[in-house]
């Protein structure tokens, strides 16, 4: 096994593909930092201004007679009116840098919004408001800030804060990147069959070594993510690793940034193993790098194309490949809502990995390693 890994190291270290993937990852992170800067991600004043406008627009949908605040006017109208007031308050708090006021009104706002979901006529104004899940996550986020007495205003480009954003984006594209990176994992070897076929090594060991060396390169990519982000410490400071992040993992929960990144890393690593195995099997079955890629991307896209599948087969590992959506509880807001649990996700991916290993072991033999 060791000699195989050594061989793979010789082959991989000068592979142009790896060099380019490294450059690409670095460019991606730098680009992302620029994007955040350009788009002013996390600018609360801008956010609250737009929210205010939206609520006002929602209010304008109501008839004049709903407008009286007391008496028997429309409950939803009253609710929205109150929301509008709180958003104005938040905007002021953000402008004047009063975090306590901001958090307090945020909590109140979230409670109001939660009430609004049950009120008559909510569907009419739903588009103006955050979804139930988003609101719930915001609510526990601000409550935590308040109870732990943590300041709100954080530079979103400081190291740890940036990492949340980075891993949030990675959650949606990690599978795609891996599919691109690994889709030729065996095909490249098929071009060197006469060298490889005769190695005095069992084929399953060979495949395992291949998987392990690919996996280690992917781990290096992950390290690279952190390394490139380190630059931000110099420019924007370290940030706070204990800062809370609201996630859905079956329940609405608060993780610290470090915890959040930890769970993201767990997902990234298990997805990497999964994709490597899938690529190996598809390579041998389809004998074509691009077909492998297309099949993988299609499998990844299927739950999005047919959301009904998610609630019908909640344990389908592909439901969990986009772990940003998973941790944001996106599946709760579907037409057929289903609560996907991040622990079950890891179990589902883990079981699939076992199945893939068994399949790989059963079907792959030296004889299958034919020239392409």
């Amino acid at each position: 096994m060791w000699k195989l890994l050594k061989t793979n190291l010789i082959i991989e270290k000068s592979s142009k593909k790896n060099i380019f993937a490294f450059i690409f990852v670095a460019l991606f992170i730098i680009g992302l930092a620029f994007y955040m800067e350009n788009e002013d991600v996390g600018n609360l004043v801008a956010l609250k201004t737009s929210e205010h406008q939206n609520i006002t627009s929602a209010l304008s949908q109501f008839q004049v007679m709903d407008a009286s605040k007391d008496g028997d006017s429309n409950e939803l109208y009253k609710n929205l009116n109150e929301q509008q007031r709180l958003i104005s308050l938040q905007r002021v708090a953000a402008k004047l840098d009063k975090p306590d006021l901001f958090a307090n009104s945020a909590i109140e706002l979230a409670n109001l919004r939660e009430d609004a979901f049950t009120l008559e006529g909510y569907e009419e104004v739903a588009v103006y408001l955050p979804t139930y899940t988003v609101n719930k996550l915001e609510s526990i986020f601000y409550e935590t800030l308040k109870t732990l007495d943590i300041p709100i205003f954080k530079d979103n480009l400081s190291f740890y804060q940036f990492l949340i954003f980075l891993f949030g984006i990675l959650g949606s594209i990690w599978f795609i990147f891996l599919a691109f990176y690994t889709c030729g994992i065996m095909i490249e070897d098929f071009r060197h069959t006469s060298l490889i076929k005769g190695y005095p090594i069992p084929f399953d060991q060979y495949v395992a070594a291949k998987g392990i060396s690919t996996m280690s390169i992917i781990l290096i990519f992950i390290v690279e993510l952190f390394l490139c982000s380190l630059l931000l410490i110099y420019y924007r400071g370290l940030g706070d690793p204990t800062y809370p992040v609201a996630v859905f993992d079956g329940n609405y929960e608060i993780y610290s940034i470090a915890q959040y990144i930890g769970i993201c890393l767990l997902y990234m690593i298990s997805i990497a193993v999964f994709v490597i195995l899938l690529s190996i099997i598809l390579n041998v079955l389809l004998k074509n790098m691009y077909l492998t890629l297309f099949v993988e991307l299609l499998l990844f896209a299927l739950p999005t194309l047919f959301p009904r599948m998610i609630s019908l087969f909640p344990y389908n590992p592909f439901n969990y490949m986009n772990f940003t959506n998973l941790l944001n509880g996106v599946s709760l807001d579907l037409a057929h809502p289903v609560a996907l649990n991040s622990t079950y996700g890891l179990i589902s991916i883990g079981l699939s990995i076992v199945v893939l290993i068994v399949v790989a072991n059963l079907f792959l033999s030296t004889g299958k390693l034919k020239r392409v």
């Binding site: 142009k16 380019f20 929210e51 929602a58 588009v127 071009r191 790098m289 691009y290």
Partner: protein
Amino acid sequence: MKAYFKFELSQFIKSKKNIAIYVLLLFLACFYALNIAPSYKPIEKVDAKEIEARYLSREAFLSNFTNENRFTGMAGYGLAIYPKWNWLDKSRLDALNDNKLKQYSKFTSEWYIYSNNITYGSEHFFYSPGYYTHGNLYASEDGYYGYLYSASRYQGYAEGKSKLSINVFEERTALQTLQRLLHSYLPMILMICCVFLTVDVVLKDRLNPSLLKGFPISDWKKLIIKGAVSLIGSIGVIVPLSVGLLLIGIRYGFGDFQLPVPIYSYSGEPSYFNKGEFINITMGSYLLENFILLIFCFMFLISLVLLVSMIIKNEFANLLVAAIFIFNEIFYFKRGIGFFYEVENYPTNYVQVGQILSGYRNYIYNSSALNLGNGLTALGMGTGVLLLLIFLISKYKRYKLV
């Protein structure tokens, strides 16, 4: 030359990967036509009930407050603006109920202009709710664009000879769907397909070099022929897509090439005070312009991939470099920076073909220079430079193509 072209073309067509791309596109096109297109909810929909509700409540207000002079402030403002607004709404309603679609178009166009005049910058009036989705920071900018776009469009319907229908009004017909798609993700999808079709066109020869090296044709010509084959293949993606359009057409009508497409353009330099205006062109010329600009994008991408294939000789690198071209704009885009930078000089700014040609990119960049001419120049010059590099490298004595 011709024989080599035929040889490359047959390889291209027989490639499993390429067949898979066409099949996938066919699947996506059908999926779109059958699943997504029917659930399309236009922001500016034709809704008699909504017009009626608005008309009635304003009418009630007007009938309660009859004497203009007695009211000042908001009420007075309402009394000043509602009569014309309501008259327009009433006219639209009547036209719709009588199925006089030309009439409806005429009044709707006027209605949008009038509404926009009052709504833009107002704290009391709002555009259609569809713009104010949660998290949209630019709702009123979008509303402004959307209203004037609709005004111009309906004016076109009123003045044009096209057969009108509710589907045409809601932009559901096949050609209008195509127009909408060109305005969103379609150009990117087409370019991704183009990249996938081109990615191995040079490097596949490395699998059997001795066979191909010896063809009595120069490297430069080989590359040009390969590029031409990919270009033809990329244009060929129209075939699976048109199946989807056919399905949409059967259900919602095909529309026609005379339908108006509003183009946003500035007279003079854009600024906060100098907003642009919409001018209609026909669907035919809009699609033609799109086609031309798309082909230029394809040519740029293909030359880029050819060059990278020559220098780096790695398919993964081809994909990455092409991806950087296609997605680069997302990272540096910022609303309004066209005012400060000459955005029209970067070929990467022309990826969103439909938005460039409709002037939407100008609108959000606050520029007046992102147009077909500049696009062709930027992409054409870019392609020219890339081809020159390819030419020079291929003529370099020590260089080996495969």
